[in-house]
C-alpha cells in the first residue's frame, strides 16, 4: 500500500464483485436509473453499490433487498405518487434520457413515514411547503404602515442577500409576520438555531456574500452562539438577528430573556441592542458594512419586540453615509509603499522561499495575484486549512497543505526555507507547532489586513498591513521575473521530497488493514467523481483532515471547513447554505459519524426545502480523532470515543432521503455516482475502517520537524 502514489489508485470500475452476480431479486424502482449512462458503467447488477450479495449480514440496510423505494420521490417517473411534485427537471440538462425501466413492478406497501399521496397529511406537508416558499401569498404592505420588522427585511434585500435561515419564537414573531410582504426574501426554517448560524456561514463562504441568520430571544439566541463563534474565528461575514423582550421588560428576567449582547460581545466583530425602530436602518446597514469590510466577521443585532412593531419612516443610509458614521472603523487596505518594496527585496534575494497562502487570499479574491506572484518568482505555494483553494492543486507550483496533519514535504520545506511569505494567514498553533523551532532559518514576510495578527504568534521581519490583493498587486509591480531555470535546483529538491512523502499513509486501492474501507480513498473518490468542482463541506476531526489532504481542490471557495473553532456538527448545516448559495455547484457534506449526529436534525430542513445536499458519512463508529489521540498520547485509554451508530439508511429513509451503504472499495465510486444522480438530497453511508489514523501527525507542543508518520505498523 505504501508504495502507491496518489492518483495511482485504481478506480473501482472493474468487473462485478463476487456475490453480486447472483443477485436476482426484483429491483423494482429502487434501482437508480440514469446512473449507468452517466458514469459509463454497464447497467448491471455488479455495480449496484447496495447489492446485498456483499453484505449477507446486513441486508436489512439495503433498499434493494427490502423492496422499499425511499428515493421514489426523487424519480421523475414516479413523482405522481409523491406529495411533493414539481421537480421533473433532471439535475443535468445534458443528461441522456433514462432507460425505460420496463414493466413497472407493483409498488410495495410503504414502510416509511412519508405520507401517502392524497392523504390529509400529505396535503398538510404540501401546504407547509407552499407557505414556506410563499406561493400565492398576497403582499399586503400597502394596507399598513411600515414597521421595524419591514426595515429588517428591506435592509437585508438591499444588501443583495435573498435568503435567511431562522427559527421563530415569541418575540421575533413580528418579523415572521411581515415576511409575507417581502416575497423576494426566501426564509428557510431550520430545526435548531445552530443550524441557522452554520447555514449562514456556509452561504457566506460559498458565495462571498453576507449570510443572515435569525433566532428568537433566550434559547433561540444562545443556540446561535456556537455558529457565530465559528464565523468569528474563521472571519466569515454573518449577520445574526435576534429578537428580545420588549424594552420595558429588559433586565427583568422576563420569559426567554437573556443578556445575549453580553454573551456575543467577545465573540462577534460588533454587536447592537436596538430599542428604537428609527435606529434600525442605520444599524442594519452598519452591521452588513462591518461584517464584510476589512477582515470579515459576524455581527449580531438584538432587537426588542416593540422596536420590531414600532412604526418608522427612517430612510436607509448609503454605504458612504455608513462609513462616515463609523470613524472608529477604517481598515487599512493599501500596504505601506516602503513595506511593499521591502517584500519585493526579500523575495528577490531569497534562495528557498515558500508562500504560505491563507484564507485571506480567498476573502480578498486574490487567487490570480497569488498565482502571478508564484509564477513570476517561481515560489512554491503551500496552504493552510482555510487557504485550500487559493491555488489550483494541480498547478505545478502548488505544493500542499501544511501543519499538524499537513504533508511531510510541505512542513519540511517550511522548516528548510530561508523566506516565508505569509499571505492572509495567522500562524495558528496547528500551523506552527512549537514556535521556538518553527522555520528556524527563515525570515518572515507577513501580509494581513488585521494589524493585530502581525507579530501575534511569531515575530516577523517584514510586516505589511493591507488587503492582500492590493498588496500583492503592488508587490508584483516591483518584482522582476526569475530567469528561466532560476530556482531549478531548489524546485527539483522539493519535487523529490514530495514524491517520497505523498506515498506514505495513502491507500490507493481503497483498502486499509485487513481490507477495511480506507477513508482517504473515499474522500479522493468523491473529489474525482465530482470533477473537483463540487463544494465539499468537511465536518471536524479525522474526516476534516482527510478532506483537506485528499479532496483535491481546484476552485476557490469549494472547500468549507470549521478551522479555528473546530465546531463538530458544522458540515450538514453549512452545506445547506453552500447548496442554496451556489445552486450551480454540487454540494457534498462529508461528516464523521460523531459530527453528523450533532446536527442530524437538519435532515428535515434539507427535505422540506429540497436542498440538494449529498451527505457522505465516514462512519468508523468512533470519535476518530479522539480515538487517535487516545491511542497515540494517552496510552490507548479509549474512554468515550466509541459511538453507537444508528442504521443511517433507515434513518434517511424516515426522512424520505435515498441512502446507500458502502463497505468495500469497489462499491465506493458507484455509490457516489448513484447519489449524484439523485435529484435532491441523498446520503451515502461509508462504513470505514474503525482504527485508521490520520498520518502524519505533529504532536501538540512539538515542532513541524517532529511528525509521527506511522504508529502500529507499515500498513498505516
Amino acid at each position: 500500500m505504501k508504495s502507491m502514489t496518489r492518483g495511482g489508485g485504481a478506480t473501482p470500475a472493474g468487473p462485478p464483485g463476487p456475490g453480486a452476480a447472483g443477485h436476482d431479486q426484483p429491483r423494482g424502482r429502487a434501482q437508480p436509473r440514469g446512473r449507468a449512462q452517466r458514469s459509463g458503467h454497464e447497467p448491471q447488477a455488479g455495480h449496484e453499490p447496495t447489492s446485498s450479495g456483499h453484505e449477507p449480514t446486513s441486508s436489512g440496510h439495503e433498499p434493494t433487498s427490502s423492496g422499499r423505494a425511499p428515493q421514489a420521490g426523487h424519480e421523475p417517473m414516479s413523482s405522481g405518487h409523491e406529495p411533493q411534485a414539481g421537480h421533473e427537471q433532471p439535475r443535468n440538462p445534458d443528461q441522456q434520457p433514462r432507460p425505460e425501466p420496463g414493466p413497472e413492478p407493483r409498488p410495495e406497501p410503504r414502510r416509511s413515514h412519508e405520507p401517502a399521496a392524497g392523504s390529509p397529511v400529505a396535503e398538510a406537508v404540501e401546504r407547509a411547503r407552499r407557505d414556506m416558499l410563499r406561493e400565492g401569498a398576497v403582499p399586503r404592505l400597502a394596507a399598513r404602515a411600515r414597521i421595524g420588522a419591514d426595515v429588517v427585511c428591506e435592509a437585508i434585500l438591499r444588501q443583495g442577500v435573498d435568503v435567511l435561515w431562522g427559527y421563530p419564537g415569541g418575540v421575533i414573531l413580528p418579523l415572521y409576520d411581515v415576511f409575507v410582504d417581502h416575497p423576494e426574501l426566501r426564509t428557510i426554517l431550520v430545526r435548531h438555531e445552530q443550524g441557522a448560524a452554520h447555514a449562514a456561514d456556509g452561504y457566506a463562504r460559498a458565495t462571498g456574500r453576507v449570510g443572515v441568520c435569525l433566532g428568537t430571544s433566550g434559547p433561540g439566541a444562545t443556540n446561535l452562539v456556537s455558529g457565530l463563534a465559528t464565523a468569528q474565528l474563521d472571519s466569515i461575514p454573518v449577520v445574526a438577528v435576534t429578537g428580545n423582550v420588549p424594552a420595558a421588560l429588559l433586565g427583568k428576567d422576563a420569559f426567554q430573556e437573556i443578556d445575549i449582547t453580553g454573551i456575543t460581545l467577545p465573540m462577534t466583530k460588533h454587536n447592537y441592542l436596538v430599542r428604537d425602530a428609527n435606529d434600525l436602518p442605520r444599524v442594519m446597514a452598519e452591521a452588513f458594512y462591518i461584517a464584510r469590510t476589512g477582515r470579515p466577521g459576524p455581527v449580531h443585532i438584538d432587537i426588542t419586540k416593540d422596536a420590531l412593531q414600532q412604526e418608522t419612516d427612517a430612510p436607509h443610509p448609503t454605504d458612504d453615509e455608513v462609513a462616515a458614521g463609523l470613524p472608529g472603523f477604517r481598515p487599512t487596505l493599501d500596504g505601506h509603499p516602503r513595506q511593499v518594496r521591502l517584500v519585493a527585496h526579500e523575495i528577490a534575494r531569497a534562495k528557498r522561499p515558500v508562500i504560505l497562502a491563507g484564507h485571506g487570499i480567498l476573502i480578498a479574491d486574490a487567487t490570480d495575484e497569488l498565482r502571478a506572484l508564484a509564477e513570476r518568482a517561481r515560489i512554491p505555494v503551500t496552504w493552510t486549512l482555510l487557504g485550500i483553494g487559493a491555488i489550483d492543486e494541480t498547478h505545478p507550483l502548488a505544493y500542499g497543505y501544511m501543519g499538524m496533519h499537513g504533508w511531510k514535504h510541505v512542513n519540511r520545506a517550511i522548516q528548510a526555507a530561508d523566506l516565508l511569505i505569509a499571505l492572509g494567514m495567522r500562524f495558528d498553533d496547528r500551523v506552527t507547532g512549537n514556535v521556538r523551532t518553527y522555520a528556524p532559518h527563515a525570515r518572515i514576510v507577513h501580509v494581513d489586513i488585521d494589524p493585530a495578527e502581525i507579530g501575534k504568534n511569531v515575530a516577523v521581519e517584514v510586516p505589511v498591513v493591507g488587503d492582500v490583493k492590493r498588496v500583492l498587486t503592488a508587490v508584483l509591480a516591483h518584482l522582476r521575473p526569475v530567469a528561466d531555470g532560476g530556482r531549478d535546483e531548489y524546485l527539483a529538491q522539493l519535487a523529490e521530497w514530495r514524491l517520497e512523502s505523498e506515498a506514505t499513509s495513502w491507500h490507493g486501492s481503497g483498502a486499509w488493514r485487513g481490507g477495511q474501507l480506507s477513508a482517504d480513498y473515499v474522500v479522493s473518490q468523491i473529489g474525482e467523481a465530482t470533477g473537483h468542482d463540487a463544494t465539499l463541506v468537511a465536518d471536524v476531526g479525522q474526516n476534516q483532515m482527510w478532506v483537506a489532504r485528499y479532496g483535491g481542490f481546484r476552485r476557490p471557495n469549494s472547500h468549507l471547513s470549521s478551522g479555528g473553532l473546530g465546531t463538530m456538527g458544522y458540515a450538514l448545516p453549512a452545506s445547506m447554505g453552500a447548496a442554496v448559495g451556489r445552486p450551480d455547484k454540487e454540494t457534498w457534506a462529508i461528516c464523521g459519524d460523531g459530527g453528523f449526529q450533532m446536527t442530524i436534525q437538519e435532515l428535515a430542513t434539507i427535505v422540506q426545502d429540497r436542498i440538494p445536499v449529498r451527505i457522505a458519512i465516514l462512519d468508523n463508529h468512533k470519535l476518530g480523532m479522539i480515538r487517535q489521540w487516545q491511542e497515540l498520547f494517552y496510552g490507548g485509554n479509549y474512554h468515550s470515543s466509541h459511538l453507537f451508530s444508528p442504521d443511517y439508511v433507515k434513518l434517511a429513509d424516515a426522512y424520505g432521503i435515498p441512502a446507500w451503504k458502502v463497505r468495500t472499495p469497489d462499491q465506493v465510486r458507484p455509490a457516489i455516482e448513484t447519489a449524484r444522480a439523485v435529484d435532491g438530497p441523498a446520503l451515502v453511508w461509508f462504513e470505514i475502517a474503525q482504527e485508521q489514523n490520520v498520518f502524519p501527525i505533529m504532536p501538540a507542543g512539538k515542532g513541524l520537524s517532529d511528525l509521527i508518520e506511522t504508529w502500529g505498523g507499515a500498513d498505516e
Binding site: 470613524p327 472608529g328 528548510a416 518553527y438 494589524p451 493585530a452 515575530a459
Partner: protein, 187 residues
Amino acid sequence: MSPEPHAPPKPRALPGSGEARRHVLVAIVNNRTGVLNRVASLMRARSFNIETLAVSHLDDPAISRMTITIHGDDVHVEQATKHLYKLIDVLKVQDVTDEPTVQHELALLKVRATDRIRGELIAIVEMYKARIVDMSPESVIVETTGSETEVDALIALLRGYGIKEMVRTGTVVMSRGPQSIEEATKR
C-alpha cells in the same frame, strides 16, 4: 538544503515573553452604552488585570477618554492596543508609557485625628501640598493630587495615624507639549 548544518539555529523568539512593566494607555472612545464593557472584556480575554481605569467624557459629550494602566510585556501590551483599535467604538489608542507626560491621580483619605495629633497632621498635609476638606472630632479627610508615587508617599506617612477609609481615582494622563490626542482623533 539547510544552510548551516553544524550551527543549531537560534530559537525563534516568542512574542509576549519579555519582561512585564507598567503601561499607561489612553483610549478615545464613543460615549455609548457598553463601551466600557467591551474594553474590559477585551482586557479580561487577554488576561490583563486593569490596575487603574479613569473614564470621563470630553468637551464633546459624545466622546469619552479612558486612561488605563496595566502590567505586561511590551509586545503583549501592543497586541492589546491593536485589539482595542479593532473595537468599532474605539477611535484612538495611544501607549504613552515612554512619552513625557503629566500623570496625576486624586486620593481622599479619612484619617483618625484626635485633638492631640491634629496639628501634626495639618503640618504634614501642608508639606505635601495636600489639603483637608472635612473635619470631625475624631477624623479628617485629606485630599491629595499628584503622581502615583507622590500619593503613595503621603499614604505611607499617614498610615501610622490610622487610615479609616481611602479612595483613589486612578491615574489620568496627558502628554506634555502642544500635541493633542483629541485633535489627532478628529483628523
